[in-house]
C-alpha cells in the first residue's frame, strides 16, 4: 500500500513538473522546429505542426546570417554589453564598498535610496532620455544605449554588491592596513579579490540586463545596422507585413540560449538582491 502511495506521489510530481516545463519551454521548442522547417512545411495548415513533415533545412539560418544584419545585431549587443559592464563595475563596485563599510545610518539610507531608483521604470524615463540623446547628437548611436543602460545596472548592482561586501569581515582589511597597506590599498588588494564572486555576478547581470533591454533601444535606434538583437529580431525580420518566421525563430533562439545558460547559473544571487533581508 505504502509503495503504491509513493509511486502515485512520484507520478504526480513528475506530471506537475512536466506540465510546468511544457509551459515554460514550449515556445523555445517551437522556435527550434521553425528554425529547421522548410517554408512549405511551415505554412501548410494541415500538416502536423509539431513534427517535420518534410526533411529539415538550413535555409533559414543561411538567410539569417548572410542576408540580414543579424550578425551585426549580435556584435552591437556585445559591444554595448561590454561597455555597460565596464561602466557598471567602475561605479557600482566602489560605491557599494563605501556604502557597506562606512554605513552608519546614512550609508544604509543612501543604499536603499539607490536601490529604489531601480524601481523608476524606463517607461517614465525614455521620453526625456530620448530628448537627451538628440540634444547630445547620440540618436542612432550605440553610445546612447551605452550611456543609458547603466541607469538600471548601477542601482541594482550597487545594492547586490553591498550585500557581498558586508559578508567580508572588517577585521581582514584592518589587518591589511596594519600589515602595510593604505586604506585604499586594503580595499583593492584584499577586499576586492575576496569579493570576486560578487563582482562576477555583477558582470553577468550588467551584460544580460543590457541584452534584454527593449524600450530604450526601440526609442533611440531606428537604423537597422545599429540595432541590438533584442529589437533587431522583432522589428527587422519582417518584410512589409510578411513575417519571415523561419529566420525570426532562428534569430530568437540563437540569441536566447547562451545568455539563458549563464543567467540560470547566477539567478540565485540575483534573487538574493531582490529579497534583501527577507531570507536569512
Amino acid at each position: 500500500m505504502a509503495n503504491i502511495g509513493k509511486l502515485a506521489r512520484r507520478g504526480g510530481l513528475y506530471t506537475l513538473l512536466g506540465g510546468f516545463i511544457f509551459f515554460s519551454a514550449f515556445p523555445f521548442y517551437w522556435m527550434v522546429i521553425a528554425t529547421f522547417k522548410r517554408d512549405h512545411d511551415l505554412f501548410s495548415p494541415l500538416n502536423n505542426p509539431f513534427l517535420f513533415n518534410e526533411p529539415p533545412t538550413l535555409d533559414h539560418l543561411r538567410l539569417l546570417f548572410f542576408e540580414t544584419h543579424y550578425v551585426q545585431y549580435l556584435l552591437n549587443t556585445a559591444i554595448i554589453g561590454f561597455a555597460v559592464v565596464v561602466i557598471t563595475l567602475a561605479t557600482a563596485v566602489p560605491a557599494a564598498y563605501a556604502l557597506a563599510r562606512w554605513a552608519r545610518g546614512w550609508g544604509e539610507s543612501l543604499g536603499i535610496g539607490i536601490f529604489l531608483t531601480y524601481l523608476v521604470p524606463p517607461t517614465i524615463l525614455f521620453i526625456p532620455l530620448s530628448r537627451f540623446a538628440s540634444f547630445f547628437g547620440l540618436q542612432e548611436s550605440l553610445w546612447s544605449l551605452i550611456l543609458v543602460y547603466p541607469t538600471f545596472t548601477i542601482p541594482f548592482c550597487t545594492w547586490l554588491l553591498m550585500g557581498f561586501f558586508k559578508t567580508i569581515p572588517k577585521d581582514i582589511e584592518e589587518q591589511a592596513m596594519i600589515d602595510g597597506l593604505s586604506r585604499f590599498g586594503a580595499m583593492t588588494k584584499v577586499v576586492f579579490p575576496l569579493a570576486i564572486s560578487g563582482i562576477l555576478t555583477v558582470v553577468v547581470f550588467a551584460f544580460t540586463l543590457s541584452m534584454h533591454e527593449f524600450i530604450y533601444a526601440l526609442t533611440f535606434i531606428s537604423v537597422s545596422a545599429k540595432k541590438t538583437v533584442s529589437i533587431g529580431v522583432p522589428t527587422e525580420l519582417v518584410r512589409g507585413d510578411v513575417f519571415q518566421w523561419g529566420p525570426l525563430m532562428a534569430g530568437a533562439l540563437i540569441a536566447s540560449i547562451p545568455v539563458a545558460v549563464v543567467y540560470t547559473y547566477f539567478l540565485d544571487r540575483f534573487v538574493a538582491g531582490f529579497t534583501m533581508g527577507a531570507v536569512k
Binding site: 514550449f26 521604470p121 541607469t151 533584442s230 540565485d268 529579497t275
Partner: protein, 316 residues
C-alpha cells in the same frame, strides 16, 4: 631608524586621500550618485516638466501650460481604457503567478533527477531576452498557423459544425479583444513565473526544518502545518515576489508591443504602450510624459510596501 624613513614618505600621513576614510568614502560613492542624479533624477524632473508643457518632438522647447495635459489625458477614452487594462493585466497575471509559483516551488523542493536541466527549462522565460521569447509566442498565436488552434481542430473542438468553440478554423488569439487580453496575460505569467518561483524557493528553504518537525511531533496534520507554519513564515517573501512582479508587469511594454501593439481596437492598450505611442510615435512629448507619470503613484506605493516588508522581516 626605519620609522623616520616612513614618516618622511610624501603623502604617507593621514593627510593622503587614500588613507582618509571620510573623503575616500565620498570619492568612491560620488560617481554612482552622480550617474543616478544625471541619468535618472534629471530625466525624471524633465518628465515632470514636459507633462506641464506643450512640447512636441517637432518643437521640444518648454512652454509651461499647467495641468492641461493631465486634464486632456484624463478626458481621452483610450487613456481610461489603458488605465483599466493596466490594472486588470497586472493584478490578474500576478495573482496567477503567485499561486503557480508556490505550487512549482514546492515541487522543485522535492528530490528528483536532472534538476539542473529542469531548472534551466523552467527559468528560460526569465533568462532569455523577453522580446525574443515573446516573438515565439507571437508565432504560436498566429492567426492561421497557431499550433494551439491545430490541436483544438485535431480534438474536434474547432472548425467543425458541432465544435465546442465554433465552426471557424481559427481562434484569432490576438485578433479578438477578450482573447488578446488573455494572450497578453498568459505571456506575462509565463515571463514572471520563473522569477517568482525562485524567490519563493528561497523563502521555503529558509524555514527552519526543526520548526516543521516540531509541528509534526505536536501532531499537526500536513494541512495544518502549511496553514500555521509555512504560509505565515513565507508571507513576507511571497509579498516581495508579488510586489516585484507588479513593478515588472505594471511598467512592461515589450509583451504588448510585440504581440498586439495595443490592439485590436485598443483592447490591450496599457499605460506603458500608450506612453510610447503618444510620446514617441505621435511625437506628443507633453502628453506622453503626463501618461507615464500616472504610473508613478502606484510605483511609489509598491516601493514603500517593499521597504516595509524588508524591514519587518529583518526585525523578526
Amino acid at each position: 631608524m626605519k620609522d623616520t624613513v616612513h614618516a618622511a614618505r610624501p603623502g604617507g600621513g593621514r593627510g593622503g586621500i587614500l588613507d582618509r576614510e571620510g573623503a575616500l568614502a565620498k570619492l568612491l560613492i560620488a560617481p554612482a550618485v552622480l550617474y543616478i542624479v544625471a541619468m535618472i533624477g534629471a530625466p525624471f524632473v524633465l518628465a515632470v516638466l514636459y507633462s506641464l508643457s506643450d512640447a512636441t518632438t517637432g518643437d521640444p522647447s518648454l512652454h509651461l501650460v499647467g495641468f492641461r495635459n493631465f486634464a486632456a489625458v484624463l478626458e481621452d477614452p483610450v487613456f481610461r481604457l489603458a488605465l483599466r487594462n493596466t490594472f486588470v493585466f497586472t493584478l490578474l497575471s500576478q495573482s496567477i503567478v503567485i499561486v503557480l509559483s508556490r505550487i512549482l516551488a514546492n515541487a522543485l523542493l522535492k528530490p528528483f533527477r536532472g534538476k539542473w536541466l529542469v531548472r534551466f527549462l523552467i527559468l528560460l522565460p526569465w533568462t532569455a531576452p523577453i522580446s525574443l521569447g515573446t516573438i515565439g509566442w507571437l508565432w504560436m498565436f498566429d492567426s492561421i498557423f497557431s499550433p494551439i488552434d491545430w490541436v483544438l481542430r485535431y480534438l474536434g473542438l474547432l472548425g467543425t459544425a458541432t465544435g465546442l468553440l465554433g465552426p471557424q478554423t481559427n481562434m484569432y488569439w490576438l485578433g479578438v479583444p477578450g482573447l488578446a487580453m488573455a494572450s497578453v496575460i498568459i505571456v506575462n505569467v509565463w515571463r514572471i513565473l520563473p522569477l517568482a518561483t525562485v524567490i519563493q524557493l528561497g523563502g521555503l528553504s529558509s524555514i527552519p526544518k526543526d520548526l516543521i518537525e516540531a509541528a509534526e511531533v505536536d501532531g499537526a496534520s500536513p494541512w495544518r502545518r502549511t496553514l500555521m507554519i509555512t504560509i505565515p513564515l513565507t508571507l513576507p517573501i511571497v509579498s516581495i515576489a508579488f510586489l516585484f512582479g507588479i513593478v515588472f508587469t505594471f511598467t512592461d511594454l515589450v509583451v504588448v508591443y510585440v504581440l498586439t501593439r495595443g490592439g485590436p481596437v485598443q483592447s490591450t492598450q496599457v499605460l506603458s504602450s500608450w506612453t510610447f505611442f503618444k510620446g514617441i510615435e505621435a511625437g506628443d512629448l507633453a502628453q506622453g510624459a503626463a501618461i507615464s507619470l500616472f504610473m508613478f503613484p502606484v510605483l511609489a506605493v509598491v516601493a514603500i510596501l517593499i521597504l516595509r516588508m524588508a524591514r519587518r522581516t529583518e526585525v523578526v
